[in-house]
């Protein structure tokens, strides 16, 4: 996997209160996951075989039953339909499913040209 910088924008509520819709972050593709930090992950397809979109999750640890795999969680566990390693059919992720690590959030005041602010 090529290592490189990228920018991602968040959609949805599953990482509140840490992140909100419209937040932008600089990520490092191909970097090794770090415990407790945020990562861009590819979750397995859902039960009907439909691919899930790239998602942002927190890497909370190794899978206790397989230390080569990573446990990822949403920060907001109260939102309806939350999908993470605790969700039936997902479980822990293999190293190659962790696509990028989040380096930092771009402050709203430093938005890149053309960047839209979320509704307040």
């Amino acid at each position: 996997m090529a290592v490189g910088l990228g920018v991602v924008v968040v959609r949805g509520r599953s990482m509140e209160p840490t992140l909100h819709t419209g937040d932008r972050m600089v990520v490092l593709r191909g970097a090794p996951p770090r415990m407790g930090r945020l990562a861009i992950v590819r979750l397995p397809p859902d039960e009907s075989g439909m691919p899930r979109p790239l998602a942002i999750k927190r890497v909370t640890g190794r899978d206790p039953s397989d230390p080569r795999r990573y446990w990822v969680e949403s920060d907001n566990q109260t939102v309806s339909g939350v999908a993470d390693s605790w969700t039936h059919g997902i479980g822990s992720l293999a190293r190659e499913q962790i696509r990028a690590v989040v380096l930092f959030r771009i402050p709203q005041r430093l938005r890149l040209p053309g960047g839209r602010r979320p509704l307040q």
């Binding site: 990228g6 920018v7 979109p53 039953s65 109260t78 309806s80 339909g81 999908a83 039936h88």
Partner: protein, 132 residues
């Protein structure tokens, strides 16, 4: 290279299941997750992982109740309750199974199975009403 850097990739923090759509599948996937959590904890002794599992299991149980209540109060209408008089009891029993005396408070795979069976019964009625 620069344009690639400045064009953000959208990453999902969305809910995974259809929102605003009535379907017992929403309650079922949370109940299946609860069952998986109980199994995961059974063969694990890591105290942090177990603590986390307790919290998540309570939250997912609350989500089961939420999804069932939405079906009970918003989807099903008076004619449904006339045609299926057992519906009220089914919802009452199912939400109890997701409560403190059920999956929310206990690590009992049997309770999770009972909860899934109740959700299946509700789902069967749901599908009949959809087909009607």
């Amino acid at each position: 290279m620069l344009s690639r850097f400045f064009t953000p990739t959208e990453v999902s923090a969305h809910c995974d299941l259809p929102c605003g759509v009535y379907d017992p599948a929403q309650a079922r996937i949370e109940a299946q997750s609860i069952k998986a959590i109980i199994a995961k904890v059974a063969d694990n002794s890591d105290p942090d992982f177990r603590t986390r599992a307790v919290l998540i299991k309570e939250q997912r149980s609350e989500l089961v109740k939420h999804h069932l209540w939405v079906l009970w109060t918003d989807y099903f209408k008076a004619p449904h309750f006339e045609k299926y008089p057992q519906l009220h009891t089914l919802f009452n029993e199912a939400t109890k199974l997701a409560g403190a005396s059920g999956t929310k408070g206990e690590f009992d795979a049997g309770k999770a199975d009972e909860l899934l069976a109740k959700i299946d019964e509700i789902d069967a009625i749901f599908k009949e009403t959809k087909a009607a």
